[in-house]
Symmetry: C2
Subunit: 340 residues, 2 copies
Amino acid sequence: MTSRRSSAPTLEAVAERAGVSRATVSRVVNGSPKVTSEVLASVNAAIEELGYVPNRAARSLASRRTQAIALVVPEETAKVFDEPYFANIVQGVALHLASTDYALSLLITSAGSVQKTRRYLLGGNVDGAVVVSHHEGDHLLDGVAAHLPLVFGGRPFRPTGGLTHYVDADNVGGGRQAVKHLIDQGCTNIATIAGPADMTAGLDRLQGFREALSAAKLDDSLVEHGDFSPVSGAEAMRWLLARGKRIDGVFAANDQMALGAYAVLAEHGLRIPEDVKVVGFDDDRAAATALPALTSVAQPSAEMGAEMARLLIRLIEGAGDVPEATVMPTELLTRASTGA
Amino acid sequence: MTSRRSSAPTLEAVAERAGVSRATVSRVVNGSPKVTSEVLASVNAAIEELGYVPNRAARSLASRRTQAIALVVPEETAKVFDEPYFANIVQGVALHLASTDYALSLLITSAGSVQKTRRYLLGGNVDGAVVVSHHEGDHLLDGVAAHLPLVFGGRPFRPTGGLTHYVDADNVGGGRQAVKHLIDQGCTNIATIAGPADMTAGLDRLQGFREALSAAKLDDSLVEHGDFSPVSGAEAMRWLLARGKRIDGVFAANDQMALGAYAVLAEHGLRIPEDVKVVGFDDDRAAATALPALTSVAQPSAEMGAEMARLLIRLIEGAGDVPEATVMPTELLTRASTGA
DNA sequence: TTGTATGCGTTATCAC
DNA sequence: GTGATAACGCATACAA
């Protein structure tokens, strides 16, 4: 049996204690400039003495603002919460919000709870939402953007009429960076294990691959798609080798697929990095501990989370100059797999 | 410029549309049994047509309940969010809550925001909280338990007078399990790299180590403490070897330290598992991909998160039979490091 | 600068 | 079973 909370002191109690009206207390609490320093002091004293803390529900009801934002994560994503990427996004968002006055509601949306999520978002529970999703056809939020400020993590698959804002890593640049590094290391026959065609991150990285090769006037036809899983990476690598062409460099759209390829290369008696150099993407935790350690393109996921939160708050507070797209720089971490 | 939300339909609008009073609509919304099926139908129709969704702030203000719970995570913990343990706890809590009517507020508490967190919790923003912490001296929540139902993740360091409930993994049993496995594999000189002395998880695992050795009448004096980091594991391993006694089995209180020990064993020309068998704890993602793959004790972290949420809700809803301690079973995953 | 009065959208206590 | 009506705790035009 736990004892129940003794009803908290209200604004009115503070008003009486300080000998002023409720309105004045409200002003003090909300930091209004129009209040005498004397009154301010006595009110603050009363607040302190009573341990007053404003009731959010009441405040939100009266002000029509909730001071809360939602972080929407699809269940499939949550299940792979151990992908550092998502965990870091969540962390970044939460950490930034901790320095503001906004609370964070974490929403995990399963296939069956789409309606529930929509209702939650549209039910005036939050002032805005950060959405971390990435698949095409997430109609989940169709129309919501018209009613609620939204910031997406990752470039949406299709343009959404100017009212979606998003924060993305520079996937094209990262892909370019990765492939350029392979070229610099002497590779001339470079293949890529691309991501699925329904995710912009995969497509953008592939484009980076093409741009780098085209700039160096090298062949860019060695392309196979995977679904970001290790087995799909192995599979793709098998197909690439089956083409019979020489391959001395591989750029995988993520580390998991790169590591999947490791095994297949070994099967074929190809050594990394002597025979084939490999670069991944994401700087998965497994990258550094792999043998050989995997060179990878890192994206600043925690910072991206923080940036999403920051932009959302600006949108909520009515800033008119919030950029539709925010692209954050990637970083190439060279390791043994490219002979670093 | 995003267009603003067109004020949502209120309960009153539904009432008018259905030709009944607001009270009746409220009853329908809250599933009261005292309502004619006809009225119920028409009200539901109106709700559907208007796309009505109740306003939480108003509801919470009137009912004095928030239908929200907080998940409190200390910042240091958040920073190691990539420890699967915490990510899984968060996931477990969030996923369970998704099947209920409760919303989840994620609170990351930094050293400087302790007061803010306390205010949030005591300010009637939530009906209860799940606290994932584990260090001694987290006075952060002193006294809060008296006002708000709380469920901790992990056994609190000191008893708290009967009003704290917690969910923990069977760390003692897990430690016992790990060491017993080493014994079964033929080890007779077993050492342990224990966790810090101010964390119950570490202490409990150490106790499991002692119990298993004592049951087998083996020496249990080979103990060195680390702080759960890889370097501390390496350090501890060095000290253990420096004692000059033969060691053919090592139980590390977590995988990170076990992997730290890997390198030191190699330096000393000791092979795993031929010369020394190693067992870790947590089933960190790095465990399976390590070379050799690390045998480890896994704890059901996602399930623990779900259980915490479940218990908290029962507390909130006044159940009197909620157990103070809930201990969840661990599982030994045998891999190459113990010659499996 | 400060106080007064009204409203925010629901729930809950009554009568009917 | 259903409908008025008073809270719930705070913000905010408006008056002073």
